[in-house]
């Protein structure tokens, strides 16, 4: 009874800080300055389609890179002894304790034309390569910042897998390749799915990385929204409309991802769990 009463606090919290802001975005997106209903904002959003395409593209690339880098690492971590596992996991989390802005700023000094990397290359006799102010640098920034969000869920999914299942597969004559493809991969899929969601969503809507590493020319949706609220135009209606379209896109992509996430149900049916 008491616990039930206590949950009201959370419901209230949700109402004030989740439902009402969402409703406000919705209202702002469909109204103009005088508060009347309009679809004009969405017409203006169309002007920025290139920014949407770029954001989705760069977000997808960094998600794939994170997956390629993160999955093997998560697998390796799950194979080492438990004591070491904790240390490695802490090391992965460690950069997350440092402020996001500072981490990105550090990359700026590394990638600049006079930066650490190019100085090192000039010692080797390689002509300076411009790393900074390219979309590659933006992807690098996203991968660096969001990689832990990929590794951790995959790791916990793999760590949860019952070793006996793997042993059973081996007993039945499955090779290493088959064990991985037919047993480990499907069972770790939920982790992969939540990893992809956790990287893709913030990567698409990030804004400061593109400003610091992309030289301002690699505008992403986040920058565009920031421009509407803090820029010289100050147009919260357009800003909300952009957020709204972004929300729909993310909503659909999560929907797509969830369709893959059926391994749990299958297992229940087969009776493995």
């Amino acid at each position: 009874m008491k616990i039930k009463n206590f949950s009201i606090v959370y419901i209230l919290w949700m109402l004030i800080f989740t439902i009402i802001p969402m409703a406000l975005i919705f209202i702002f997106a469909f109204t103009d300055k005088s508060g009347e209903f309009t679809l004009e904002n969405f017409f203006y959003v169309g002007r920025y389609s290139n920014v949407f395409l770029r954001s989705i593209g760069l977000g997808a690339i960094s998600t794939i890179v994170c997956l390629i880098l993160g999955y093997p690492l998560a697998y390796i971590i799950s194979k080492i002894s438990v004591d070491k596992q904790n240390i490695v996991i802490m090391l992965i989390m460690l950069p997350m304790w440092i402020n996001f802005l500072l981490r990105t700023y550090a990359w700026m000094t590394i990638l600049e034309n006079n930066g650490l990397l190019n100085r090192f290359l000039s010692i080797l006799g390689v002509a300076p390569i411009s790393f900074i102010n390219t979309s590659g640098a933006v992807v690098l920034g996203m991968v660096y910042n969001f990689l832990p969000y990929m590794i951790l869920p995959i790791y916990s999914a793999i760590a949860k897998i019952d070793k006996r299942i793997v042993e059973a597969a081996q007993d039945l004559g499955a090779g290493k390749c088959n064990v991985f493809l037919k047993v480990l991969l499907p069972l770790s899929l939920p982790g992969v799915i939540s990893g992809i969601t956790m990287v893709f969503v913030p990567a698409v809507s990030t804004f400061i990385i593109s400003k610091m590493l992309g030289g301002g020319a690699n505008i992403l949706i986040g920058d565009l929204i920031e421009m509407q609220f803090l820029g010289s135009t100050y147009n919260p209606h357009l800003g909300s409309a952009i957020s709204f379209v972004l929300m729909i896109l993310i909503f659909i992509s999560i929907g797509i991802m969830n369709q893959f996430d059926d391994s749990d149900e299958d297992l229940d049916e087969v009776g493995c769990k």
């Binding site: 290139n50 600049e112 010289s232 147009n235």
Partner: protein, 393 residues
């Protein structure tokens, strides 16, 4: 039962304490008046490093307390005043924002009889374009946009440097530009001779084309990052505000600063009183106090921007007062233009031009619709495939 009783007593006491302290607080408020001042960050002499604490001095002189808070951009100030969430008595926005707020009837007309120190404000800072009738604002500081250049990387002599150098192919990849549309367009507009406050879309398009041609030469579009990028030699040329020249010139001896004679953008930050101010009379006293040449000089010493008062200028270190960066020749000033507010619709148009310049491509509404439809189709395909698979299982 006992527990409940205890609980009620506890609640009763708690509310009693709250009400009592609130009454005490209200009473203490009555005896002293506090005005709310809203200014840019780092934009007043605050008593650090032995400087005068201007707000404390005001309280000492008048007995009026100051509740001082700061903002980061004109837009955040505007949003706060418009939402009506907070009531301020004195605000210090920039030129174009003042003109916008005048148009939207958000500012109070000032009673200049209560601001005798207004006489110290130089003639050239009265009735500027943003407040043409000179009824709503009293200038606080001003500044100009100029070009920072690295003497080691730029061959041209100082007198030959003008806005065209930012379009010079020789410095490709070494040029920084403003990362906000109004400032960036202003440079191109001065270069090709268009008014900064033009209301013709065709003229803005012309400037946009000019900026598009410059884009391949630009290393990055930045704001505060120019401090880092210029001082470590990453970039050779960058337009920025003269008030920050002292900081940057100190960091790297090779850096010079030029204000092109052909014209530039002059910005003025001025004190205003919002319509909903609770203590307008005390606010006038504060504005008058800030115009006192002694106080103005103290503030200018701390801020580093220029003062609109000659009397305050004469109290500064002659090195600063005769510094051509902060107080350039009349000829430079004569060609300088001030921003005024543009219609919302034009602002939105400029924003989209700006994004197109930076991304190098035109937006196409159909592309966005195609993306949305593509996403939905993908969802349906995956959904159907899964259904099929489940059936076969």
């Amino acid at each position: 039962m006992k527990k409940k009783l205890f609980f009620f007593i506890f609640i009763f006491f708690l509310s009693f304490i709250v009400v009592f302290s609130f009454i005490l607080y209200k009473n203490s408020q009555k005896s002293k008046i506090t005005i709310n001042v809203y200014n840019w960050g780092e934009y007043i002499s605050d008593g650090s490093n032995g400087a005068l604490n201007v707000n404390e001095e005001f309280t000492k002189r008048t007995g009026i307390y100051v509740n001082y808070s700061t903002f980061q951009s004109n837009e955040s100030l505007f949003a706060k005043i418009q939402n009506g969430g907070a009531k301020y008595d004195v605000i210090i926005p920039s030129d174009y924002m003042i003109s916008k707020m005048i148009k939207m009837d958000m500012l109070k007309k000032l009673d200049f009889e209560k601001i005798p120190n207004y006489s110290h404000i130089d003639e050239s800072f009265r009735s500027l374009e943003y407040d043409p009738t000179n009824e709503y604002s009293v200038p606080y500081t001003w500044g100009l946009v100029g070009i920072f250049y690295n003497k080691k990387l730029v061959d041209e002599e100082e007198k030959n440097i003008n806005w065209n150098i930012l379009w010079n192919k020789k410095y490709s990849g070494k040029i920084l530009m403003f990362d906000n549309p109004r400032d960036a367009f202003a440079i191109s507009q001065i270069r090709i001779g268009i008014s900064l406050n033009s209301s013709k879309k065709s003229e803005w398009l012309k400037a946009a084309n000019d900026l598009k041609q410059q884009k391949p030469l630009v290393q990055a579009y930045v704001m505060d990052q120019i401090f880092d990028k210029m001082s470590n030699g990453e970039a050779a040329l960058a337009p920025y505000y003269n008030g920050d020249a002292a900081t940057l010139l100190e960091r790297n001896k090779d850096i010079g600063f030029v204000i092109p004679k052909e014209g530039t953008n002059k910005f003025v930050d001025a004190m205003c009183i919002p319509k909903n101010a609770e203590h307008p009379v005390e606010a006038l006293a504060y504005i008058n106090f800030m115009c006192d040449p002694k106080i103005a000089a103290e503030n200018i010493k701390y801020i580093g921007y220029s003062s609109p008062e000659s009397a305050a200028k004469s109290q500064l270190d002659p090195k600063v007062a005769n510094n051509k960066i902060c107080y350039p020749d009349d000829q430079v000033l004569k060609n300088a233009q001030v921003f005024t507010a543009l219609p919302d619709e034009l602002n939105a148009f400029i924003d989209s031009l700006w994004v197109n310049i930076k991304t190098g491509e035109e937006g196409n509404p159909f592309a966005l619709i195609a993306v949305l439809i593509g996403f939905i189709l993908l969802y349906l395909i995956v959904f159907l495939l899964k259904k099929k698979k489940n059936k076969t299982v």
